[in-house]
């Protein structure tokens, strides 16, 4: 079976500054792949490169076996690869409902937007209560729920999620991970970037550790020894 995502010897960065150095990793269809790593390791850059938001200088990105190198972001989205970005990036001047409708912007998602909205409101009843509120006035937790909900409106086949628990209260983190667990159980292909390693490992089928623009460890989720992972994780800081 082809993988949902193959990243092959990828190099990417910001103009003169190269960030990713021959990154290779795979994500299996229907599985949850977790990418961990310290600040500045290049996790966000990797997701941005997959989405075509950062130029790729070498290597390849394949989605369901098809090369997406150099593809435009909107075409990638239309093919069902969705990114829920770090820092949420909701549209602060729009209502909660309009934000969700933006998620349904890809042509294939428009017809089913009402059904998908009902599903999102089932996941996050808080959003239903606040549907007419201007998104810029939501709390951090609510804004993250909106970002996830907006991503789900795009009917992802492959869903890239960048640090959804960042800066949130423990109860909200619980709720977010409960939803992620549910999406995983429903068979969605998830690529999750997280700093909260112990939480992320609980839902991981596969784990990659990134450091300084490289993948330094790839293991099955159930084979990962948390102590060893943490030792490797912090080895970078000591070096």
């Amino acid at each position: 079976m082809t993988n949902a995502l193959d990243v092959v010897s990828l190099r990417a960065g910001y103009g003169a500054i190269n960030v990713l150095w021959d990154v290779s990793l795979t994500a299996e269809t229907g599985k949850t792949t977790v990418i961990v790593g310290p600040n500045g390791a290049g996790k966000t850059t990797l997701l941005r490169a997959i989405m075509g938001l950062v130029p790729v200088t070498a290597g390849d990105i394949r989605v369901n076996g098809q090369s997406r190198k150099g593809a435009k972001t909107w075409d990638t989205v239309a093919d069902g690869v969705v990114m829920i970005p770090e820092g949420r990036m909701i549209f602060p001047d729009m209502s909660v409902e309009d934000n969700l409708m933006m998620g349904a912007f890809p042509r294939a998602c428009r017809a089913g937007w009402k059904r998908n909205k009902a599903m999102v409101f089932d996941f996050f009843p808080r959003l239903a209560e606040r549907r007419d509120q201007i998104a810029g006035t939501l709390s951090g937790g609510e804004a993250q729920m909106l970002a996830i909900g907006r991503g789900l409106m795009e009917q992802p086949r492959v869903c890239l999620i960048d640090e959804p628990s960042l800066g949130l209260a423990p109860v909200v983190v619980d709720e977010i991970f409960r939803i992620l667990g549910q999406l995983r159980a429903d068979g969605m292909t998830i690529i999750l970037v997280e700093q909260n390693t112990s939480r992320a490992l609980k839902i991981a089928d596969h784990v990659h550790l990134m450091q300084s623009g490289k993948v330094v460890l790839s293991e099955r989720g159930d084979a990962v020894d948390l102590d060893r992972l943490h030792a490797l994780y912090f080895a970078h800081d000591a070096a």
Binding site: W74, P85, D93, M94, D98, M102, R107, R110, R150
Partner: protein, 292 residues
């Protein structure tokens, strides 16, 4: 006395309506592209001259000339967009230089083709006066284009809030990368906003040709006025533009009535400075909202 004031307010309201039609186009393009099109007033003027050419040469009613003018103005807008989208670095400053240059070229083109004379419609209906409630006077053209302009702006407002593409314009205004992650192709959305600006410019141009007079240097005046109104409103707020335009129109008209016509431009400018002094982000520019 009271009648004089009411008349001044009424005339100001009508003028504000057409100022708004000009300014909303500028604000829309700014919202989608973060570019101030300094040739926008010249596009309005181009529409006015197309209406003039159609009427003087072929006897076409200016209202019937709107579709013809629209084709010309939309084509010119498409060229402006094509040139703008080739800018790769420092888009803010380079787009100002580029569009300023395009404006000068257009003004001189108009001057070459149609000479420096002042023109207005020769169709008497437009300039016939309409009396409302026995006291308020206006020309047919002013009232007709005021109502038409409001309807057009209401349509744009609805489009921004309730259509897929309109929401995409607002998303692009708010966060370009996030909009792309929703599947928005910025180029498509930008072209669309340029075309809607062209529609508004065409309408405003024909309104000026029928209700006022046109001459080659007017484009520049219109650009400046639209720019002031857009900043006054708080860049990108559509209903702010309407209110700001009416404020400018009313202030100008009160100045003409009670002080002197020569102070008209000064009064609008003073209002602009006072508002910016009190609220630097404009009347409604708190969060750069488009249409909210």
């Amino acid at each position: 006395m009271i009648e004089l004031t009411l008349q001044a307010l009424f005339s100001g309201l009508l003028a504000g309506g057409y100022y708004a039609t000009v300014a909303v186009g500028l604000a829309l393009v700014f919202g989608a592209m973060r570019v101030i099109n300094l040739a926008h007033g010249e596009l309005v003027l181009l529409a006015a001259y197309i209406a003039y050419a159609a009427e003087s040469r072929y006897g076409i009613n200016p209202v019937m000339a709107i579709p013809i003018a629209l084709v010309v103005v939309a084509s010119a807008s498409a060229i402006v967009y094509a040139l703008l989208s080739r800018i790769e670095h420092d888009r803010e400053i380079n787009s100002l230089i580029l569009t300023f240059g395009i404006g000068i070229i257009m003004t001189n083109g108009i001057l070459t083709i149609w000479a420096a004379d002042i023109h207005s419609t020769t169709n008497p209906w437009f300039q016939d006066s309409l009396v409302i409630a026995d006291t308020l006077f206006a020309m047919n053209a002013e009232v007709a284009f005021f109502i038409g302009g409001l309807a057009l702006m209401a349509g744009v407002y609805w489009w921004l809030n309730h259509s897929w593409q309109g929401r995409a314009v607002r998303a692009l205004t708010s966060n370009r990368n996030a909009a792309m992650l929703m599947g928005v192709n910025p180029r498509q959305t930008e072209i669309l906003s340029f075309m809607i600006a062209a529609l508004l410019a065409t309408f405003a141009g024909v309104a000026i040709y029928t209700g006022k007079t046109v001459f080659p240097s007017l484009g520049h005046v219109l650009t400046v006025k639209a720019f002031i109104i857009t900043v006054l409103a708080g860049m990108g707020s559509i209903h702010g533009v309407l209110i700001g335009a009416i404020m400018i129109g009313v202030i100008e008209s009160l100045t003409v009535t009670y002080l002197s016509a020569s102070l008209q431009e000064l009064a609008g400018m003073l209002l602009f400075l006072v508002v910016l002094f009190v609220s630097p982000s404009g009347l409604f520019g708190g969060r750069r909202a488009l249409a909210r």
